[in-house]
Symmetry: C2
């Protein structure tokens, strides 16, 4: 297991942690300001959201690399299943944006259950079909697709996969080398079978996301905790992720309307470095 206590070069920022810098969510920093602030603190990478980039993806990617960091990934495709599923054209656009940005990984939050269906079989079949449909174009662009299982509270309208095992089942159904899994501690910390599922998913893990699960979660979407403030066994989970062969960046992604989005980005970025070295 890697020792981060004096080295945070494996640390990546997901810009959601600064409220996407959208009006009313965070301080409104531009992508360029985020890049400079992360580089100044020795972050190793940044993960952007498609809506932050507009037509400037290539320039933003170049600026990240010129600052000595990597673009770790892009969030995310439109939903692929459920009543809010996006079009194939929108999925292709997100793949092309990842390619322009130079992001090796594009995250997939699957979307919810198919209209009128009961249970998850129909939704997962549709999910696998759509991922397979887009995987070859992604591969031609040098982009891998990372299926992210979500906490079961997001069943119904946001996801149809809930565990690393679920995500691995979809990988197996799709059968493409550039389709894998994003592991987020917020979504999987509670899973007793996580270590064995991660071992089974060895070689398929494309990303590792950090935050913490607060003892008292006040909001389903926007009350994630800073690492160390919650109850997740962050070091134990990372040990299992690394035992399964993952040695890439660790991406901090904290949706926190009432706490961290209300603080200055400089403070948030400093606290992340400290907690990454001490708690993760």
């Amino acid at each position: 297991m890697r020792d981060f206590s004096n080295d945070h070069s494996a640390l990546a920022l997901n810009t959601a942690t600064l409220g996407h810098n959208l009006p009313g969510r965070g301080a409104g920093w531009s992508p360029e300001q985020v890049i400079d602030a992360c580089a100044a603190r020795g972050y190793g990478g940044i993960v952007f959201w498609q809506r932050e980039l507009g037509r400037a993806a290539a320039q933003i990617g170049d600026r990240v690399r010129a600052a000595g960091m990597e673009v770790t990934g892009l969030c995310r495709t439109p939903y692929l299943t459920g009543s809010e599923a996006g079009t194939d054209a929108a999925v292709t656009e997100s793949i092309d944006t990842a390619a322009a940005l130079g992001a090796p990984v594009l995250t997939i939050v699957t979307g919810g259950t198919e209209l009128g269906s009961k249970g998850l079989d129909d939704s997962r079949k549709r999910l696998a079909e759509r991922v397979a449909h887009h995987a070859d174009h992604a591969a031609a662009c040098g982009v891998s697709l990372a299926l992210e299982p979500l906490n079961p509270m997001f069943g119904g309208n946001r996801t149809c996969i809930f565990t690393v095992r679920d995500a691995l089942d979809i990988c197996d159904m799709v059968g493409k080398d550039n389709v894998g899994i994003a592991v987020d501690v917020y979504h999987v910390w509670w899973d007793t079978t996580l270590a064995e599922s991660l071992l089974a998913a060895s070689g398929h893990i494309l990303g590792y996301h950090l935050c913490d699960w607060l003892e008292n979660t006040r909001d389903m979407l926007l009350d994630r905790g800073m690492m160390g403030d919650g109850v997740a066994d962050l070091k134990g989970i990372r040990a299992a992720v690394e035992a399964a062969g993952y040695n890439g960046k660790c991406e901090v992604e904290i949706f926190s309307a009432v706490d961290w989005w209300a603080r200055s980005p400089d403070e948030v970025l400093d606290v992340i470095v400290d907690r990454f070295r001490s708690c993760c």
Copy 2:
């Protein structure tokens, strides 16, 4: 698999479905009014909450039986783990109330993670110790203890077991014949491994709870759906529960502040019978 299409004698009401009849939650019916209304519609059983009974548990139990129904169970012990864990005296009181009521099953919602702990091992060890400590007195009272896994959104402050497999692990740690599992579709509908976990839990299933998971869940606690209005595969789950040997009552438990608690109890009880026969 049992055929309920023309027979709802296996249907039990959990009084939470009528808002516990507390002020501001439901119509304020007394336990006696609930008993009469269920008996008039041919319900097979009722599950009460301890706080509704006061010192009248024995009389209420007798009234249920005199009306031709059974007391299916009692909700619930205080939490056994986490920062809001109850005392041993309070646990004993809930067991004694179940005995007085003539309830064969007392539900356990475990409580959350132990203070200062990371992950779930410490909490589960403490849970198993406390369940074992109380199991013999419960057995002497003719009461079985049913561990109820909760949806992972309730990790942290409400539960430290999330799946049937988790609950079975605790049963194995406790090793007492009168300790088993309550299976609630709301909490486990998403679990791909449910059928295999239920088979492994054969002989340990002490209760089966019905409601539905709505596509768009607006509140973590109080937005459960009526059977048929959501995305859970209710017939598939019951088939798996019965394949594991359970043939007891099916208990409808719907926490619904904005919908079903705002309706008349008569309407709610009628809809339940209809949906039980058609959707479950």
